[in-house]
Symmetry: C2
Subunit: 291 residues, 2 copies
């Protein structure tokens, strides 16, 4: 039976899988992200072992070049991750495994996964946002994945930052206190001195985090008017956080936009991924099937 | 020869026109916005006099209901403009003139106009932003006008607001210091005590305005990744303002996103409408032709 390959490339690990969807995952492997040569080599070895596959979808950390007409299509471009700037991922996988490759951002892949099998089935305009080590966003508008000039970079929006209440400068190497700089997992750890996962009981941590996440979501809501906002990633899964974010978005919108989807069902409007932590790699398998 | 009608409904005036495009405008009239009954009556009279037309496009101030399946399609919904909340515009025009009507936001209409005849020809993903009495935004993603849950409301994003430098509270009745609350024409007049047009020589006014506009544009850029950003409206046409905005966007992005369209040609990337102040009404005529 036909199988497809999916790769979710992340800054700390790559998730590789073979199958056709959430109910048909035949093989999966997590590879630690080291050097490009070693990491890509291990992914290639996985598909040589578990294949053959019809096509491979790659959802990648970025920024990336996903323009088909570009000579550097398939590259990770100006990432600050040491050793990874301007790395050819897509073409190399395509060449070494002799299969067609679909290449997009990790968040667009996850959005496609949610559209096919998860929380965004039947919707035409929605976002998938990940809040983990960093913050990224993708999604669809009018039934098409968001591309444009390059691709969305939700994490680098500026949001209000009250330095009296939170004097922390932010961790973004480019912008300091952009959304990612203030609200990513890395920001939480740098501000409070402990990783997010170990700050469970500290309500001040999560009240501030919810406030920042809500401020960014309001911008997303105002620019894209999504029918639903899905938030994945390790930080987003912190218990109780989403309810605080939902509350703060309603407070910030303050009754503007009489959309019953937002006002009457905020818990359905801002939601966790239907596919959980597998949205990315499953979305990559979906991407492969769009070729 | 076939003709189409276009209406740009604004809070202070309605622009009505008959024709097929910028080189074929056969009649035009500006109607002062008074009560709904009187204003709509005058628009109907204009088309009765200057018609017949095949169809009419309406680009309206909002928020509006443009969902075809909705029972209140064609309505202006929760606008704070006195007398205009929950006003049926689209269906009434359709019924009284017995013609098909296309109904969208003023900024989406203008975006379509720019796409057909102006600064966004050949582009699939771009925005049209108006900075006048208020701030609004629309555009296309993947070749389709931005809709979604409702429609974009760019003006109500939150942006950083340094109250030490600018203690002004903002003028938005819902949010105080959202983008529109800080940077619209109404905000300029309230902050400085004079209308924007009479503050030409005051560099501090325009430096602050450029800073706020750039902060909002960065969010638009990060969410939508537009191939071009067109800024229309009375405030945007202030001489020299756009150059300051372009400079501030580059400063804020700080080298993130190596897109030559942004970095090497910022003056072409953030630009005035190709159709000037007629983008809205011409876009409405384009809308009519999409039916």
């Amino acid at each position: 039976m036909t199988a497809y390959g999916g790769i979710e490339t992340g800054g700390s690990k790559w998730e590789c899988a073979v199958g056709t969807g959430p109910d048909d995952l035949r093989a999966a492997e997590t590879i630690r992200t080291t050097t490009p040569a070693e990491t890509i080599g291990r992914a290639v070895a996985f598909f040589e072992r578990e294949g053959p596959v019809e096509a491979i979808g790659i959802g990648s950390f970025g920024p990336i070049d996903q323009k088909l007409s570009s000579p550097t299509w398939g590259h990770i471009t100006s990432t600050p991750k040491p050793g990874w700037a301007h790395t050819d991922v897509g073409r190399q996988i395509q060449r070494r495994l002799s299969v067609p490759v679909a290449f997009d951002t990790d968040v667009n892949a996850a959005a496609l996964g949610e559209h096919w099998w998860g929380a965004c089935q039947g919707l035409e305009t929605f976002c998938y946002i990940t809040v983990g080590t960093g913050i990224g966003g993708g999604g669809m508008a009018g039934g098409k994945l968001l591309h444009g000039l390059l691709h969305p970079e939700f994490g680098h929006m500026r949001i209000p930052h009250d330095r009296d209440a939170d004097p922390f400068d932010g961790v973004c190497p480019y912008h300091g206190d952009c959304w990612e700089g203030l609200a990513s997992g890395l920001a939480i750890e740098a501000r409070w001195g402990h990783p997010a996962a170990s700050l469970d009981g500290d309500q001040a941590v999560w009240e501030l985090e919810a406030r920042y996440l809500a401020l960014g979501l309001v911008s997303v809501l105002c620019v894209l008017s999504p029918e639903r906002i899905v938030i994945g990633g390790g930080v987003a899964h912190h218990e109780g956080l989403l309810a605080l974010v939902q509350r703060d978005v309603l407070t910030l919108m303050n009754g503007y936009l009489e959309a019953s989807a937002v006002v009457d069902d905020i818990a359905g409007y801002i939601t966790l991924p239907g596919l959980g932590m597998r949205a990315g790699v499953l979305g990559a398998i979906a991407l492969a099937q769009t070729l």
